[in-house]
Protein backbone atom coordinates (compact mmCIF):
# COMPACT_ATOMS: atom_id res chain seq x y z
CA UNK A 1 0.00 0.00 0.00
CA UNK A 2 2.82 2.32 0.92
CA UNK A 3 4.60 1.45 -2.30
CA UNK A 4 1.44 2.14 -4.28
CA UNK A 5 1.05 5.57 -2.70
CA UNK A 6 4.65 6.40 -3.47
CA UNK A 7 4.22 5.36 -7.09
CA UNK A 8 1.11 7.50 -7.37
CA UNK A 9 3.01 10.50 -6.03
CA UNK A 10 5.83 9.94 -8.49
CA UNK A 11 3.32 9.81 -11.33
CA UNK A 12 1.69 13.03 -10.16
CA UNK A 13 5.05 14.75 -9.83
CA UNK A 14 6.13 13.52 -13.23
CA UNK A 15 2.90 14.71 -14.75
CA UNK A 16 3.33 18.09 -13.08
CA UNK A 17 6.91 18.59 -14.25
CA UNK A 18 7.45 20.33 -17.55
CA UNK A 19 10.63 20.34 -19.52
CA UNK A 20 11.54 24.01 -20.03
CA UNK A 21 13.39 24.77 -23.21
CA UNK A 22 14.90 28.07 -24.19
CA UNK A 23 14.69 29.31 -27.74
CA UNK A 24 16.57 32.43 -28.60
CA UNK A 25 15.59 34.83 -31.37
CA UNK A 26 18.48 36.20 -33.34
CA UNK A 27 19.06 38.49 -36.28
CA UNK A 28 22.27 36.64 -37.05
CA UNK A 29 25.81 36.93 -35.75
CA UNK A 30 26.53 39.84 -38.05
CA UNK A 31 23.04 41.29 -38.08
CA UNK A 32 22.39 39.77 -41.48
CA UNK A 33 18.70 39.40 -40.62
CA UNK A 34 18.29 43.14 -40.21
CA UNK A 35 17.71 43.94 -43.89
CA UNK A 36 14.08 44.70 -43.05
CA UNK A 37 15.27 47.48 -40.75
CA UNK A 38 17.43 49.03 -43.42
CA UNK A 39 14.83 49.49 -46.12
CA UNK A 40 14.70 52.79 -47.93
CA UNK A 41 11.71 54.73 -49.17
CA UNK A 42 11.40 55.54 -52.83
CA UNK A 43 13.20 58.84 -52.13
CA UNK A 44 16.22 56.91 -50.89
CA UNK A 45 15.86 57.62 -47.18
CA UNK A 46 15.85 54.88 -44.63
CA UNK A 47 12.45 54.21 -43.13
CA UNK A 48 14.00 54.97 -39.78
CA UNK A 49 15.06 58.41 -40.91
CA UNK A 50 11.52 59.75 -41.12
CA UNK A 51 11.05 59.32 -37.42
CA UNK A 52 14.21 60.94 -36.19
CA UNK A 53 13.36 63.56 -33.61
CA UNK A 54 14.00 67.13 -34.75
CA UNK A 55 16.86 67.49 -32.32
CA UNK A 56 18.36 64.20 -33.40
CA UNK A 57 18.92 61.16 -31.20
CA UNK A 58 17.35 57.68 -31.08
CA UNK A 59 14.10 57.00 -32.83
CA UNK A 60 11.42 56.23 -30.16
CA UNK A 61 10.25 53.00 -31.61
CA UNK A 62 8.75 49.78 -30.32
CA UNK A 63 9.48 46.24 -31.35
CA UNK A 64 6.34 44.18 -31.67
CA UNK A 65 6.86 40.42 -31.53
CA UNK A 66 4.02 38.41 -33.06
CA UNK A 67 3.49 34.72 -33.51
CA UNK A 68 1.62 34.22 -36.75
CA UNK A 69 -0.45 31.07 -36.99
CA UNK A 70 -0.02 29.34 -40.34
CA UNK A 71 -2.33 26.33 -40.06
CA UNK A 72 0.33 24.15 -41.66
CA UNK A 73 3.90 24.09 -42.77
CA UNK A 74 4.65 26.18 -45.84
CA UNK A 75 8.07 26.90 -47.31
CA UNK A 76 10.32 29.52 -45.81
CA UNK A 77 10.75 31.94 -48.65
CA UNK A 78 8.56 35.02 -48.64
CA UNK A 79 6.86 34.02 -51.88
CA UNK A 80 6.01 30.62 -50.47
CA UNK A 81 4.65 32.15 -47.31
CA UNK A 82 2.50 34.66 -49.13
CA UNK A 83 1.15 32.01 -51.46
CA UNK A 84 0.38 29.78 -48.49
CA UNK A 85 -1.42 32.51 -46.62
CA UNK A 86 -3.48 33.29 -49.71
CA UNK A 87 -5.21 29.95 -49.16
CA UNK A 88 -4.89 29.62 -45.41
CA UNK A 89 -6.00 31.53 -42.42
CA UNK A 90 -2.69 33.05 -41.41
CA UNK A 91 -3.27 35.28 -38.42
CA UNK A 92 -1.49 36.75 -35.44
CA UNK A 93 -2.19 34.90 -32.21
CA UNK A 94 -3.56 37.69 -29.97
CA UNK A 95 -2.49 36.32 -26.62
CA UNK A 96 1.09 35.97 -27.73
CA UNK A 97 1.74 39.52 -28.92
CA UNK A 98 4.55 41.21 -27.01
CA UNK A 99 5.62 44.79 -27.37
CA UNK A 100 9.06 45.86 -26.27
CA UNK A 101 10.20 49.46 -26.21
CA UNK A 102 13.21 49.43 -28.52
CA UNK A 103 14.63 52.81 -29.46
CA UNK A 104 16.52 52.55 -32.71
CA UNK A 105 19.43 54.69 -33.72
CA UNK A 106 19.45 57.53 -36.18
CA UNK A 107 21.07 56.05 -39.23
CA UNK A 108 20.46 58.94 -41.56
CA UNK A 109 23.17 59.21 -44.15
CA UNK A 110 25.09 56.22 -42.86
CA UNK A 111 26.30 53.62 -45.31
CA UNK A 112 24.39 50.41 -45.12
CA UNK A 113 27.03 48.29 -43.29
CA UNK A 114 27.45 50.92 -40.62
CA UNK A 115 23.71 51.43 -40.32
CA UNK A 116 23.32 47.68 -39.88
CA UNK A 117 25.91 47.74 -37.13
CA UNK A 118 24.19 50.58 -35.34
CA UNK A 119 20.76 48.91 -35.49
CA UNK A 120 22.28 45.61 -34.42
CA UNK A 121 23.93 47.31 -31.50
CA UNK A 122 20.65 48.92 -30.49
CA UNK A 123 18.70 45.66 -30.65
CA UNK A 124 21.39 43.87 -28.68
CA UNK A 125 20.02 45.69 -25.67
CA UNK A 126 17.03 43.39 -25.89
CA UNK A 127 19.25 40.45 -25.09
CA UNK A 128 17.66 38.43 -22.29
CA UNK A 129 14.20 39.86 -22.83
CA UNK A 130 11.47 37.21 -22.79
CA UNK A 131 8.88 37.39 -25.52
CA UNK A 132 6.93 34.25 -24.60
CA UNK A 133 7.00 32.08 -21.50
CA UNK A 134 5.19 29.31 -23.36
CA UNK A 135 5.48 29.13 -27.09
CA UNK A 136 2.46 28.11 -29.19
CA UNK A 137 2.28 24.36 -29.83
CA UNK A 138 1.75 24.71 -33.55
CA UNK A 139 3.54 25.84 -36.67
CA UNK A 140 4.05 29.59 -36.63
CA UNK A 141 6.39 32.23 -37.85
CA UNK A 142 7.88 34.70 -35.41
CA UNK A 143 7.68 38.23 -36.65
CA UNK A 144 9.46 41.24 -35.21
CA UNK A 145 8.04 44.55 -36.40
CA UNK A 146 9.55 47.91 -35.52
CA UNK A 147 7.01 50.70 -35.32
CA UNK A 148 6.89 54.22 -34.12
CA UNK A 149 3.69 53.44 -32.26
CA UNK A 150 4.26 53.18 -28.56
CA UNK A 151 3.66 49.98 -26.64
CA UNK A 152 1.07 51.79 -24.56
CA UNK A 153 -0.87 52.57 -27.69
CA UNK A 154 -0.61 49.06 -29.00
CA UNK A 155 -1.59 47.47 -25.71
CA UNK A 156 -4.47 49.86 -25.06
CA UNK A 157 -7.05 47.19 -25.85
CA UNK A 158 -6.02 43.99 -24.17
CA UNK A 159 -7.07 40.83 -25.99
CA UNK A 160 -7.29 42.55 -29.36
CA UNK A 161 -4.72 42.96 -32.04
CA UNK A 162 -4.08 46.61 -32.55
CA UNK A 163 -3.29 47.13 -36.22
CA UNK A 164 0.16 48.35 -37.01
CA UNK A 165 -0.05 51.61 -38.87
CA UNK A 166 1.77 51.39 -42.15
CA UNK A 167 3.05 54.95 -41.95
CA UNK A 168 4.60 54.19 -38.58
CA UNK A 169 6.48 51.10 -39.68
CA UNK A 170 10.27 51.33 -39.58
CA UNK A 171 11.38 47.72 -39.89
CA UNK A 172 10.39 44.09 -40.00
CA UNK A 173 11.88 40.60 -39.82
CA UNK A 174 10.39 37.12 -39.63
CA UNK A 175 11.39 33.54 -39.08
CA UNK A 176 10.87 30.48 -41.14
CA UNK A 177 7.79 28.44 -40.22
CA UNK A 178 8.69 26.50 -37.08
CA UNK A 179 7.29 24.45 -34.23
CA UNK A 180 9.12 26.16 -31.41
CA UNK A 181 8.74 23.17 -29.05
CA UNK A 182 10.80 21.15 -31.52
CA UNK A 183 13.33 23.75 -32.55
CA UNK A 184 16.94 22.90 -31.82
CA UNK A 185 19.07 26.01 -31.54
CA UNK A 186 18.22 29.67 -32.23
CA UNK A 187 15.41 30.96 -34.37
CA UNK A 188 16.72 33.24 -37.04
CA UNK A 189 14.75 36.34 -37.95
CA UNK A 190 15.43 37.82 -41.35
CA UNK A 191 13.93 39.63 -44.29
CA UNK A 192 13.99 38.49 -47.91
CA UNK A 193 14.99 41.28 -50.21
CA UNK A 194 17.47 41.84 -52.97
CA UNK A 195 17.20 45.61 -52.95
CA UNK A 196 17.38 48.37 -50.44
CA UNK A 197 14.08 49.78 -51.79
CA UNK A 198 12.05 47.40 -49.68
CA UNK A 199 9.59 49.60 -47.81
CA UNK A 200 6.71 47.82 -49.56
CA UNK A 201 8.11 44.53 -48.29
CA UNK A 202 8.11 45.86 -44.76
CA UNK A 203 4.42 46.71 -45.12
CA UNK A 204 3.67 43.24 -46.39
CA UNK A 205 5.74 41.74 -43.61
CA UNK A 206 3.87 43.76 -41.00
CA UNK A 207 0.42 43.16 -42.38
CA UNK A 208 -1.93 41.12 -40.28
CA UNK A 209 -2.29 38.28 -42.68
CA UNK A 210 0.80 38.45 -44.83
CA UNK A 211 -1.08 39.43 -47.97
CA UNK A 212 0.86 40.15 -51.05
CA UNK A 213 0.76 43.67 -52.26
CA UNK A 214 2.00 44.49 -55.68
Amino acid sequence: MRRLTLSAWILVLLAGCNEVRQVRLTFGEEGEGLDGFLCREDDGDYLLTRAVPPGGGPVPSSLVIDFVRLGGLPGCRSGQLIRWCADHDCAVIPEHRVCLPAPLPDITGLPRPEARGRVREALRRLSGATVASEAPEEFIIVRATATLQSCDELEASPGTIAPLKEEELVGCAYSCPALLDAVEGDVYLGFDTLTEQCAQGVRVCASGNLRWRP
Binding site: N18, V20, R21, V23, L126, A135
Partner: protein
Protein backbone atom coordinates in the same frame (compact mmCIF):
# COMPACT_ATOMS: atom_id res chain seq x y z
CA UNK B 1 -6.23 -65.10 -12.22
CA UNK B 2 -8.33 -62.09 -11.44
CA UNK B 3 -10.58 -64.02 -9.11
CA UNK B 4 -7.54 -65.38 -7.28
CA UNK B 5 -6.20 -61.88 -6.94
CA UNK B 6 -9.54 -60.72 -5.63
CA UNK B 7 -9.75 -63.57 -3.15
CA UNK B 8 -6.27 -62.80 -1.95
CA UNK B 9 -7.13 -59.16 -1.60
CA UNK B 10 -10.31 -59.96 0.25
CA UNK B 11 -8.38 -62.07 2.70
CA UNK B 12 -5.84 -59.31 3.16
CA UNK B 13 -8.54 -56.75 3.66
CA UNK B 14 -10.47 -58.98 5.99
CA UNK B 15 -7.35 -59.30 8.07
CA UNK B 16 -7.10 -55.53 8.23
CA UNK B 17 -8.80 -53.57 10.93
CA UNK B 18 -11.74 -51.41 10.24
CA UNK B 19 -11.70 -48.31 12.32
CA UNK B 20 -14.69 -47.47 14.45
CA UNK B 21 -17.14 -44.70 13.95
CA UNK B 22 -16.47 -41.96 11.46
CA UNK B 23 -14.09 -39.28 12.77
CA UNK B 24 -15.55 -36.23 14.35
CA UNK B 25 -14.81 -33.32 12.06
CA UNK B 26 -16.42 -30.18 10.78
CA UNK B 27 -15.90 -31.61 7.32
CA UNK B 28 -18.25 -34.28 6.01
CA UNK B 29 -16.89 -37.74 6.71
CA UNK B 30 -16.64 -40.12 3.80
CA UNK B 31 -15.90 -43.80 4.21
CA UNK B 32 -13.88 -45.43 1.47
CA UNK B 33 -13.81 -49.12 0.77
CA UNK B 34 -11.24 -50.21 -1.77
CA UNK B 35 -11.49 -53.56 -3.47
CA UNK B 36 -9.63 -55.31 -6.21
CA UNK B 37 -6.01 -54.64 -7.11
CA UNK B 38 -3.92 -54.16 -3.95
CA UNK B 39 -2.17 -51.10 -5.39
CA UNK B 40 -5.37 -49.07 -5.21
CA UNK B 41 -5.51 -49.07 -1.43
CA UNK B 42 -2.08 -47.41 -0.91
CA UNK B 43 -3.09 -44.84 -3.53
CA UNK B 44 -6.10 -43.87 -1.45
CA UNK B 45 -4.00 -43.95 1.69
CA UNK B 46 -1.52 -41.50 0.15
CA UNK B 47 -4.38 -39.30 -0.87
CA UNK B 48 -5.61 -39.21 2.72
CA UNK B 49 -2.18 -38.28 3.99
CA UNK B 50 -1.72 -35.51 1.43
CA UNK B 51 -4.70 -33.59 2.82
CA UNK B 52 -5.10 -31.66 -0.38
CA UNK B 53 -6.63 -28.23 -0.13
CA UNK B 54 -9.93 -28.08 -1.96
CA UNK B 55 -10.74 -31.57 -0.74
CA UNK B 56 -12.97 -30.66 2.18
CA UNK B 57 -13.87 -34.13 3.40
CA UNK B 58 -12.61 -36.35 6.17
CA UNK B 59 -11.73 -39.66 4.54
CA UNK B 60 -11.92 -42.93 6.42
CA UNK B 61 -10.44 -45.97 4.75
CA UNK B 62 -12.03 -49.20 5.93
CA UNK B 63 -11.76 -52.90 5.24
CA UNK B 64 -14.49 -55.21 4.12
CA UNK B 65 -17.06 -56.21 6.73
CA UNK B 66 -15.65 -59.34 8.28
CA UNK B 67 -18.80 -60.64 9.94
CA UNK B 68 -19.40 -64.06 8.50
CA UNK B 69 -22.90 -65.34 8.11
CA UNK B 70 -23.90 -66.62 11.48
CA UNK B 71 -25.47 -69.97 11.69
CA UNK B 72 -27.31 -69.19 14.86
CA UNK B 73 -29.91 -71.85 14.22
CA UNK B 74 -27.44 -74.68 14.63
CA UNK B 75 -27.80 -74.71 18.39
CA UNK B 76 -31.57 -74.71 18.19
CA UNK B 77 -31.53 -77.55 15.69
CA UNK B 78 -29.24 -79.63 17.86
CA UNK B 79 -31.59 -78.99 20.75
CA UNK B 80 -34.49 -80.20 18.62
CA UNK B 81 -32.56 -83.31 17.67
CA UNK B 82 -31.89 -83.88 21.35
CA UNK B 83 -35.62 -83.55 22.04
CA UNK B 84 -36.41 -86.08 19.33
CA UNK B 85 -33.93 -88.57 20.74
CA UNK B 86 -35.29 -88.04 24.23
CA UNK B 87 -38.86 -88.51 23.01
CA UNK B 88 -37.82 -91.69 21.25
CA UNK B 89 -36.28 -93.02 24.45
CA UNK B 90 -39.46 -92.21 26.39
CA UNK B 91 -41.54 -93.85 23.66
CA UNK B 92 -39.48 -97.01 23.90
CA UNK B 93 -39.98 -96.95 27.64
CA UNK B 94 -43.72 -96.45 27.06
CA UNK B 95 -43.52 -93.10 28.85
CA UNK B 96 -45.83 -91.44 26.32
CA UNK B 97 -46.65 -88.39 28.39
CA UNK B 98 -42.99 -87.67 28.94
CA UNK B 99 -42.48 -88.42 25.26
CA UNK B 100 -44.94 -85.71 24.34
CA UNK B 101 -43.47 -83.32 26.83
CA UNK B 102 -40.01 -83.84 25.43
CA UNK B 103 -41.14 -82.63 22.03
CA UNK B 104 -42.10 -79.20 23.39
CA UNK B 105 -44.95 -76.91 22.50
CA UNK B 106 -46.10 -75.33 19.23
CA UNK B 107 -43.34 -72.77 19.43
CA UNK B 108 -40.80 -75.43 18.66
CA UNK B 109 -42.57 -76.33 15.43
CA UNK B 110 -42.81 -72.67 14.45
CA UNK B 111 -39.14 -72.13 15.13
CA UNK B 112 -38.20 -75.22 13.16
CA UNK B 113 -40.25 -74.23 10.15
CA UNK B 114 -39.06 -70.65 10.40
CA UNK B 115 -35.51 -71.95 10.16
CA UNK B 116 -36.46 -73.83 7.02
CA UNK B 117 -35.96 -77.27 8.57
CA UNK B 118 -38.95 -79.01 7.09
CA UNK B 119 -37.54 -82.49 7.54
CA UNK B 120 -37.01 -81.92 11.25
CA UNK B 121 -40.47 -80.42 11.51
CA UNK B 122 -41.91 -83.54 9.88
CA UNK B 123 -40.03 -85.75 12.37
CA UNK B 124 -41.30 -83.60 15.24
CA UNK B 125 -44.87 -84.07 14.12
CA UNK B 126 -44.34 -87.81 13.52
CA UNK B 127 -43.14 -88.38 17.04
CA UNK B 128 -46.00 -86.31 18.41
CA UNK B 129 -48.40 -88.55 16.52
CA UNK B 130 -46.61 -91.58 17.91
CA UNK B 131 -46.81 -90.25 21.47
CA UNK B 132 -50.51 -89.47 21.11
CA UNK B 133 -51.19 -92.91 19.62
CA UNK B 134 -49.26 -94.48 22.49
CA UNK B 135 -51.43 -92.55 24.92
CA UNK B 136 -54.54 -93.70 23.07
CA UNK B 137 -55.38 -90.13 22.01
CA UNK B 138 -56.40 -90.88 18.45
CA UNK B 139 -58.17 -87.59 17.84
CA UNK B 140 -55.20 -85.61 18.96
CA UNK B 141 -52.95 -87.89 16.91
CA UNK B 142 -55.09 -87.34 13.84
CA UNK B 143 -55.06 -83.55 14.26
CA UNK B 144 -51.29 -83.56 14.47
CA UNK B 145 -51.06 -85.87 11.46
CA UNK B 146 -53.30 -83.53 9.49
CA UNK B 147 -50.77 -80.77 10.10
CA UNK B 148 -48.27 -82.78 8.08
CA UNK B 149 -50.62 -82.59 5.13
CA UNK B 150 -51.51 -78.96 5.70
CA UNK B 151 -47.83 -78.05 5.83
CA UNK B 152 -47.13 -80.31 2.83
CA UNK B 153 -44.39 -82.12 4.70
CA UNK B 154 -43.04 -85.44 3.61
CA UNK B 155 -43.54 -88.31 6.00
CA UNK B 156 -40.07 -88.87 7.45
CA UNK B 157 -38.15 -92.13 7.30
CA UNK B 158 -38.51 -92.46 11.09
CA UNK B 159 -41.98 -93.86 10.43
CA UNK B 160 -40.29 -97.16 9.58
CA UNK B 161 -39.16 -97.73 13.17
CA UNK B 162 -42.62 -97.02 14.64
CA UNK B 163 -45.59 -99.36 14.90
CA UNK B 164 -47.78 -99.67 11.82
CA UNK B 165 -50.75 -97.91 13.46
CA UNK B 166 -48.64 -94.80 13.79
CA UNK B 167 -47.79 -94.98 10.12
CA UNK B 168 -51.42 -95.45 9.19
CA UNK B 169 -52.43 -92.51 11.37
CA UNK B 170 -49.78 -90.36 9.67
CA UNK B 171 -50.92 -91.27 6.19
CA UNK B 172 -54.60 -90.81 6.87
CA UNK B 173 -54.03 -87.57 8.72
CA UNK B 174 -51.79 -86.17 6.01
CA UNK B 175 -54.35 -87.07 3.37
CA UNK B 176 -57.07 -85.37 5.35
CA UNK B 177 -54.94 -82.30 5.77
CA UNK B 178 -54.16 -82.13 2.09
CA UNK B 179 -57.84 -82.38 1.32
CA UNK B 180 -58.64 -79.19 3.14
CA UNK B 181 -59.88 -76.11 1.33
CA UNK B 182 -57.42 -73.58 0.04
CA UNK B 183 -56.95 -70.06 1.20
CA UNK B 184 -55.36 -67.33 -0.90
CA UNK B 185 -52.76 -65.46 1.09
CA UNK B 186 -52.14 -61.86 -0.01
CA UNK B 187 -48.76 -60.95 1.40
CA UNK B 188 -47.24 -57.49 1.63
CA UNK B 189 -44.12 -56.15 3.27
CA UNK B 190 -43.03 -52.69 4.34
CA UNK B 191 -39.67 -53.16 2.63
CA UNK B 192 -39.00 -54.62 -0.75
CA UNK B 193 -37.87 -56.72 -2.37
CA UNK B 194 -38.68 -59.21 0.38
CA UNK B 195 -38.43 -62.95 -0.04
CA UNK B 196 -41.33 -64.83 1.47
CA UNK B 197 -41.03 -68.35 2.83
CA UNK B 198 -43.98 -70.60 3.57
CA UNK B 199 -43.71 -73.39 6.10
CA UNK B 200 -39.97 -73.56 5.72
CA UNK B 201 -39.97 -73.51 1.92
CA UNK B 202 -37.71 -70.56 1.05
CA UNK B 203 -38.43 -67.80 -1.45
CA UNK B 204 -41.77 -69.04 -2.60
CA UNK B 205 -42.55 -65.51 -3.75
CA UNK B 206 -41.34 -61.92 -3.56
CA UNK B 207 -43.66 -59.60 -1.68
CA UNK B 208 -46.06 -58.24 -2.55
CA UNK B 209 -47.42 -61.54 -3.79
CA UNK B 210 -50.19 -64.12 -3.38
CA UNK B 211 -49.90 -67.75 -2.27
CA UNK B 212 -52.27 -70.66 -2.04
CA UNK B 213 -52.29 -72.44 1.32
CA UNK B 214 -54.42 -75.17 2.81
CA UNK B 215 -56.65 -74.15 5.67
CA UNK B 216 -54.84 -74.41 8.97
CA UNK B 217 -51.81 -72.99 10.70
CA UNK B 218 -48.86 -71.93 8.65
CA UNK B 219 -45.55 -70.27 9.26
CA UNK B 220 -44.74 -67.37 6.96
CA UNK B 221 -41.27 -65.85 6.93
CA UNK B 222 -39.89 -62.70 5.35
CA UNK B 223 -36.29 -62.00 4.50
CA UNK B 224 -35.05 -58.74 2.95
CA UNK B 225 -31.58 -57.31 2.54
CA UNK B 226 -30.83 -54.77 5.18
CA UNK B 227 -33.76 -55.85 7.33
CA UNK B 228 -34.13 -58.27 10.15
CA UNK B 229 -35.94 -61.48 9.16
CA UNK B 230 -39.40 -61.96 10.64
CA UNK B 231 -41.72 -64.93 11.10
CA UNK B 232 -45.49 -64.89 11.43
CA UNK B 233 -47.82 -67.75 12.33
CA UNK B 234 -51.11 -67.45 10.53
CA UNK B 235 -54.34 -69.39 10.62
CA UNK B 236 -55.50 -69.78 7.06
CA UNK B 237 -59.25 -69.87 6.87
CA UNK B 238 -61.74 -68.77 4.28
CA UNK B 239 -60.97 -67.92 0.69
CA UNK B 240 -58.59 -65.04 1.31
CA UNK B 241 -56.29 -63.75 4.00
CA UNK B 242 -54.26 -60.56 4.11
CA UNK B 243 -50.81 -60.88 5.64
CA UNK B 244 -48.67 -57.78 6.19
CA UNK B 245 -45.07 -57.86 7.36
CA UNK B 246 -43.38 -55.05 9.23
CA UNK B 247 -39.63 -55.45 9.43
CA UNK B 248 -36.90 -53.83 11.48
CA UNK B 249 -33.61 -52.48 10.10
CA UNK B 250 -30.79 -54.95 10.21
CA UNK B 251 -28.00 -54.44 12.68
CA UNK B 252 -24.56 -53.72 11.13
CA UNK B 253 -23.53 -57.25 12.05
CA UNK B 254 -26.57 -58.73 10.35
CA UNK B 255 -26.03 -56.51 7.31
CA UNK B 256 -22.42 -57.71 7.18
CA UNK B 257 -23.49 -61.31 7.26
CA UNK B 258 -26.15 -60.68 4.61
CA UNK B 259 -23.55 -58.98 2.41
CA UNK B 260 -21.14 -61.88 2.89
CA UNK B 261 -23.86 -64.37 2.04
CA UNK B 262 -25.23 -62.58 -1.00
CA UNK B 263 -22.41 -60.57 -2.57
CA UNK B 264 -18.98 -61.54 -1.31
CA UNK B 265 -18.74 -64.43 -3.69
CA UNK B 266 -19.68 -62.52 -6.83
CA UNK B 267 -17.38 -59.80 -8.10
CA UNK B 268 -19.90 -58.72 -10.70
CA UNK B 269 -22.45 -57.60 -8.14
CA UNK B 270 -20.08 -55.89 -5.70
CA UNK B 271 -21.13 -52.41 -6.70
CA UNK B 272 -24.79 -53.24 -7.20
CA UNK B 273 -27.34 -51.14 -5.36
CA UNK B 274 -28.12 -53.95 -2.89
CA UNK B 275 -24.48 -54.62 -2.16
CA UNK B 276 -23.70 -50.96 -1.58
CA UNK B 277 -26.73 -50.55 0.67
CA UNK B 278 -25.65 -53.48 2.83
CA UNK B 279 -22.07 -52.22 2.93
CA UNK B 280 -23.23 -48.77 4.05
CA UNK B 281 -25.18 -50.38 6.83
CA UNK B 282 -22.48 -52.88 7.78
CA UNK B 283 -19.73 -50.23 7.83
CA UNK B 284 -21.93 -47.63 9.56
CA UNK B 285 -21.13 -45.31 6.66
CA UNK B 286 -23.80 -42.76 5.70
CA UNK B 287 -21.44 -41.61 2.95
CA UNK B 288 -19.68 -44.55 1.37
CA UNK B 289 -17.36 -44.70 -1.60
CA UNK B 290 -16.72 -48.13 -3.02
CA UNK B 291 -13.69 -48.18 -5.28
CA UNK B 292 -12.97 -51.30 -7.30
CA UNK B 293 -9.70 -51.62 -9.16
CA UNK B 294 -9.21 -54.38 -11.68
CA UNK B 295 -6.00 -55.09 -13.55
CA UNK B 296 -6.74 -54.58 -17.24
CA UNK B 297 -4.49 -54.09 -20.28
CA UNK B 298 -1.33 -53.23 -18.37
CA UNK B 299 -3.28 -50.75 -16.30
CA UNK B 300 -6.22 -50.59 -14.00
CA UNK B 301 -9.91 -50.22 -14.55
CA UNK B 302 -11.26 -48.10 -11.70
CA UNK B 303 -14.94 -48.26 -10.85
CA UNK B 304 -16.34 -46.03 -8.19
CA UNK B 305 -19.73 -45.95 -6.54
CA UNK B 306 -20.88 -43.36 -4.05
CA UNK B 307 -23.77 -44.17 -1.74
CA UNK B 308 -25.53 -41.61 0.39
CA UNK B 309 -27.54 -43.12 3.23
CA UNK B 310 -27.31 -46.47 1.48
CA UNK B 311 -28.62 -45.23 -1.85
CA UNK B 312 -26.35 -45.07 -4.88
CA UNK B 313 -25.90 -41.39 -5.67
CA UNK B 314 -23.05 -41.46 -8.19
CA UNK B 315 -20.97 -43.79 -10.27
CA UNK B 316 -17.80 -43.32 -12.26
CA UNK B 317 -15.42 -45.47 -14.24
CA UNK B 318 -12.04 -44.83 -15.78
CA UNK B 319 -8.91 -46.59 -16.97
CA UNK B 320 -5.46 -45.59 -15.85
CA UNK B 321 -1.85 -46.54 -16.22
CA UNK B 322 -0.16 -47.78 -13.06
CA UNK B 323 1.96 -44.66 -12.66
CA UNK B 324 -1.12 -42.44 -12.72
CA UNK B 325 -3.12 -44.60 -10.35
CA UNK B 326 -3.07 -42.11 -7.49
CA UNK B 327 -4.06 -39.14 -9.64
CA UNK B 328 -6.81 -41.14 -11.31
CA UNK B 329 -8.04 -42.40 -7.95
CA UNK B 330 -8.17 -38.85 -6.68
CA UNK B 331 -9.99 -37.75 -9.81
CA UNK B 332 -12.52 -40.55 -9.51
CA UNK B 333 -13.06 -39.79 -5.85
CA UNK B 334 -13.49 -36.09 -6.52
CA UNK B 335 -15.88 -36.88 -9.36
CA UNK B 336 -18.00 -39.08 -7.13
CA UNK B 337 -18.14 -36.58 -4.28
CA UNK B 338 -19.08 -33.77 -6.63
CA UNK B 339 -21.79 -35.86 -8.28
CA UNK B 340 -22.99 -36.82 -4.83
CA UNK B 341 -23.13 -33.15 -3.77
CA UNK B 342 -20.67 -33.71 -0.95
CA UNK B 343 -18.21 -31.34 -2.58
CA UNK B 344 -18.74 -28.30 -4.70
CA UNK B 345 -17.19 -28.49 -8.16
CA UNK B 346 -14.22 -26.22 -8.69
CA UNK B 347 -15.51 -22.87 -9.89
CA UNK B 348 -14.89 -21.89 -13.48
CA UNK B 349 -11.81 -19.79 -14.10
CA UNK B 350 -13.80 -16.64 -14.60
CA UNK B 351 -15.60 -17.22 -11.30
CA UNK B 352 -12.41 -17.29 -9.29
CA UNK B 353 -11.45 -14.20 -7.31
CA UNK B 354 -7.76 -14.89 -7.83
CA UNK B 355 -8.26 -14.92 -11.57
CA UNK B 356 -9.76 -11.45 -11.59
CA UNK B 357 -7.09 -10.16 -9.25
CA UNK B 358 -4.47 -11.53 -11.64
CA UNK B 359 -6.28 -9.98 -14.60
CA UNK B 360 -6.51 -6.67 -12.79
CA UNK B 361 -2.84 -6.71 -11.86
CA UNK B 362 -1.86 -7.70 -15.40
CA UNK B 363 -4.03 -4.94 -16.84
CA UNK B 364 -2.58 -2.42 -14.43
CA UNK B 365 0.97 -3.49 -15.26
CA UNK B 366 0.21 -3.42 -18.99
CA UNK B 367 -1.42 0.00 -18.65
CA UNK B 368 1.44 1.37 -16.61
CA UNK B 369 3.98 -0.03 -19.05
CA UNK B 370 2.14 1.39 -22.03
CA UNK B 371 1.76 4.74 -20.31
CA UNK B 372 5.43 4.74 -19.41
CA UNK B 373 6.40 3.92 -22.99
CA UNK B 374 4.04 6.42 -24.55
CA UNK B 375 4.30 9.18 -21.99
CA UNK B 376 6.15 12.22 -23.08
CA UNK B 377 7.21 14.79 -20.64
CA UNK B 378 5.36 18.02 -21.34
CA UNK B 379 7.58 20.58 -23.01
CA UNK B 380 7.35 24.31 -22.37
CA UNK B 381 9.35 26.52 -24.65
CA UNK B 382 10.39 29.95 -23.56
CA UNK B 383 11.18 32.34 -26.37
CA UNK B 384 13.39 35.31 -25.94
CA UNK B 385 16.25 37.34 -27.31
Amino acid sequence: MLSILRLHLLLVLLAGTASGAEPTSSMPAVTILVMGAPEARPAVHSLMELRRPGFPVALRLVALPSHAAENGDDGALLELERRLQEARRHYIDAEFSACLQSLGDEGVLTQTLGAGQRQLAARLLLWRVACHVGMGQEDAARRVAEEVGVLRLEIPADVGVLPPEVGRMMVRGAQAGMARARTSLRITSDFGPARISLDGRPAVCIAPCSLEALEGQHVLGVDAEGRQPAVQVIAARGSELEVAFTTLPATPELAASQWTAHYAGSSAALDSAGSVRLLSLALRAPRLVLLTAEAEQEGYRLRGTFALEGRVAARTERWTQPKALQETTEGALRDLLIQGHVMEPAPALYQRRDFWIAVGVAAAVAGATTAALLWKQPVRTEVGF
